[in-house]
Symmetry: C2
Subunit: 204 residues, 2 copies
């Protein structure tokens, strides 16, 4: 890593460590959105980021791990934790954020990458797990606060609530191929809430 | 179609009309399961079915429409309509049937085909719609009887109930890549029932 800044102007402009990571991530997402997963190359990503190809390979084993790393970080960064004071509006806001992310150009790129041949790579599986872990963590305070307010059964599982919330959204995006919008989000939130209140989403 | 039986032994053995259709469908599914969607050819299907390639092309425009037609019919035939006398056990049986179908070798072949490049073809979209329409029709009596028994709100939408039922199953199959089993089915049924009872799955 230390040798990079000695190599010349382009690399010095990018800097090192976290900065290189961010620039390469952004370039990866841009390439993914513009050209799709199948056409994405480390060469093009490096060129767009203004770094040497070897700089990319020093941090990421191959294009797949580069893509999934960029995607996982991007997805994780996108979803704020709502705190409206009530579980129904919290879940609705969370669902709307998720719908916004999933239907954005980068969200579509993410889905395309995750449902390409790359899906068999362990790196993709890892990234997918990381994305869900992150989302589950974000749902946790919403559910914890709802339990504290007495709005949900005490042993409600935040992860199960988030699963119930995202499943109908993915269903429309990937299976029925119907429009996904705010109404989809609100419906998903209502569905998850009804199941949680009925005690169907308890910890096992 | 009438000229087929004049062409010789192989074709005569297969017969015409519905019989040819069934034999070619079976051969298509077998090829799909053995070799996958990408490697499937009309030649191989015809050979396995013991019919002339032209016999296949006379009924199906191309391999894509052949595949989706075979898949749609296969899926449609697999799901019985449960009638256990109670909505919770009906939904559980329906969910278990769906899980059984979706995790069978042919079910996996179907998912693989539906999430390959073929997904952009109008024929695949049509088949998908047909599959869902058929499943929705099968859910209808379950919901109608539950409404008659006073177990669900009068304006509960069978289609919405089925969506709520299948979404968590698809989520595990396609997104979280977790095991899908009887427990998945029972959980999906409980989730859909809770949402229906809460009035979240009403007709719009």
């Amino acid at each position: 890593m230390t040798s990079e800044s000695q190599r010349g102007h382009r690399v010095r402009a990018v800097g090192r460590g976290p900065k290189v990571r961010a620039v390469v991530h952004a370039a990866t997402l841009a390439e993914l959105i513009e050209k799709g997963y199948a056409a994405l190359t480390v060469d093009n990503v490096a060129q767009r980021a203004g770094v040497h190809k070897t700089t990319v390979y020093r941090r990421w084993a191959d294009r797949e791990s580069l893509v999934v790393d960029a995607l996982a970080e991007h997805v994780a960064a996108d979803i704020p934790v709502p705190d409206t004071g009530a579980v129904d509006t919290d879940l609705r806001e969370l669902a709307r954020s998720l719908v916004g992310t999933m239907t954005s150009p980068s969200g579509q790129a993410i889905l395309a990458a995750m449902f390409s041949d790359a899906v068999r790579l362990p790196e993709i599986a890892d990234a997918r797990t990381r994305v869900f872990d992150d989302r589950f963590r974000r749902a946790e305070p919403v559910i914890t606060r709802a339990i504290e307010r007495g709005d949900l059964p005490a042993d409600t599982d935040p992860e199960e609530v988030l699963r119930a919330l995202v499943a109908p959204i993915y269903f429309r995006l990937l299976i029925s191929a119907e429009p996904v919008d705010e109404a989809t989000a609100d419906h998903a939130a209502a569905l998850a809430l009804a199941a949680a209140r009925a005690g169907v989403l308890r910890k096992k």
